[in-house]
């Protein structure tokens, strides 16, 4: 009953609908951005405005702030659809649901990840990030925030209807490899070293993570239906 055209249609349907909804509600894409900027601002406030200090810490600060913002932003990804019956329709559609879940995550990443990455460019100025690391920052964050959105979706599904902090604790330890990779890319870039190896590792994590985490997320959502 399922043919490939149909699945693509469904994928685009979910993507388009979620994108439309996200843009109707400006809070969806503005709040993660502002949260990110506020967190980044707190570091100079707490640590002092010394250029050398902030410059040495910039990569880590930006990465951690991006991690947290991504994670918190994705928390509500399923709650509305679960409550109003849209999620039911995914399961009844006889399409592989994990692909539709990925459509939702992709939409979320486009809507929340992109502003965060733009904000991180701004933060690189606030925090005196060494020049030459900017490109590495953007690339590593692009991959990293996508992974965080995937992980965050799993956390949101497991803790569906519970607090955001809970879904954050569940998922943060699993984001450690991404964090380590991302910051390694940054320090390699600052030292003018080649970081393509790290990028391929992150790419591999995504390649495994996209199907794997989406499948687990489907399992987690199904738990709520018993």
């Amino acid at each position: 009953m399922t043919n490939r055209d149909n699945t693509l249609d469904w994928f685009m349907l979910v993507l388009r609908r979620d994108l439309t909804l996200s843009f109707r509600r400006s809070a969806t894409y503005i709040t993660p951005l502002i949260f990110f900027l506020i967190v980044v601002t707190f570091f100079p406030l707490a640590l002092g405005p010394s250029q050398s200090l902030l410059g040495s810490l910039a990569a880590g600060i930006i990465w951690i702030s991006a991690l947290l913002s991504s994670l918190l932003a994705v928390e509500g990804i399923f709650s509305e659809d679960y409550r109003d019956g849209t999620l039911d329709q995914y399961f009844v559609s006889s399409e592989p649901v994990f692909i539709l879940i990925f459509a939702k995550v992709l939409c979320h990443w486009l809507v929340c990840g992109a502003p965060i990455i733009l904000a991180s460019i701004l933060s690189s100025i606030f925090l005196y990030l060494p020049s030459g690391a900017l490109f590495a920052l953007i690339i590593s964050l692009l991959l990293g925030t996508l992974f965080m959105s995937l992980l965050g979706a799993l956390g949101a599904a497991l803790a569906l209807g519970k607090s955001a902090i809970l879904s954050a604790i569940i998922v943060l330890p699993f984001s450690i490899p991404t964090l380590l990779m991302g910051t390694a890319i940054m320090s390699a870039a600052v030292n003018q070293q080649d970081y393509s190896g790290f990028l391929s590792i992150m790419g591999a994590m995504l390649a495994v993570g996209i199907p794997g985490l989406c499948l687990l997320t489907v399992e987690a959502i199904l738990l709520n239906y018993e």
């Binding site: 803790a159 604790i169 330890p173 990779m181 390694a184 738990l223």
Partner: protein, 248 residues
Amino acid sequence: MSRIKNWLIAMGSPPHFYKWATSSLPWLAGLAVIVFCVGLTWGIGFSPTDYKQGDVYRIIYIHVPSAILAESIYIFMAISGFISMVWRAKIAGMLINSAAPIGAGFTLVALLTGSIWGKPTWGTWWVWDARLTSTLILFFLYAAIIGLHSSIENKTKGDRAVAILAVLGVVIVPIIKKSVDWWQTLHQPSTFTLTSSPSMSPEMYLPLLVCVLGFYCLFIFMLTNSLRGEIISRERDKSWVKKQFFKY
């Protein structure tokens, strides 16, 4: 082989497990106390003094078994999670919930004893070496499981949720450990690990083994005890429980 299989399948049913648990608990307790005490006294009291670290190293007899248990319990939880997902055995699901606090406790003990060991040997209460960091992260993983389960009202659904988390964790934990190891070498070329008594004579080694065994016995006792209580509390509306306690 099939006898073991039948025993395992029978164990999967709560009333059967409860009966077995009630009858074996005193024995398990006795075994745990004996092996645990023997191991500890032997190690702390009778093993030779290390020429490098003096008597401080004796804390290894608590630290290493705790650390080993902390990791094994997580793997154990992941296996029962997998079993509960594939075979839908109720006991396997409950096991995760009962084992998690015990595992978290051992992780804490490992961290604390590691810290206590560190102070006289390196001068600080904490150091970000690969093993300690990984153990800390393991503690967070336990906390996540405990937190998630406690926040879900329907216990069976909670079991399934933490099963997913445990299975995912066991896949990710080696990756995390590898990356923390590598992070360590990246930032600190001279690594030193906690078990810095690399060559242990048999007089030191044997009591350690006994301690590890003792800790395992302790774990099995605590797990059985906790599971037994959990079964009763969950199945309290079922007839077999009522028959047990209210002999009308």
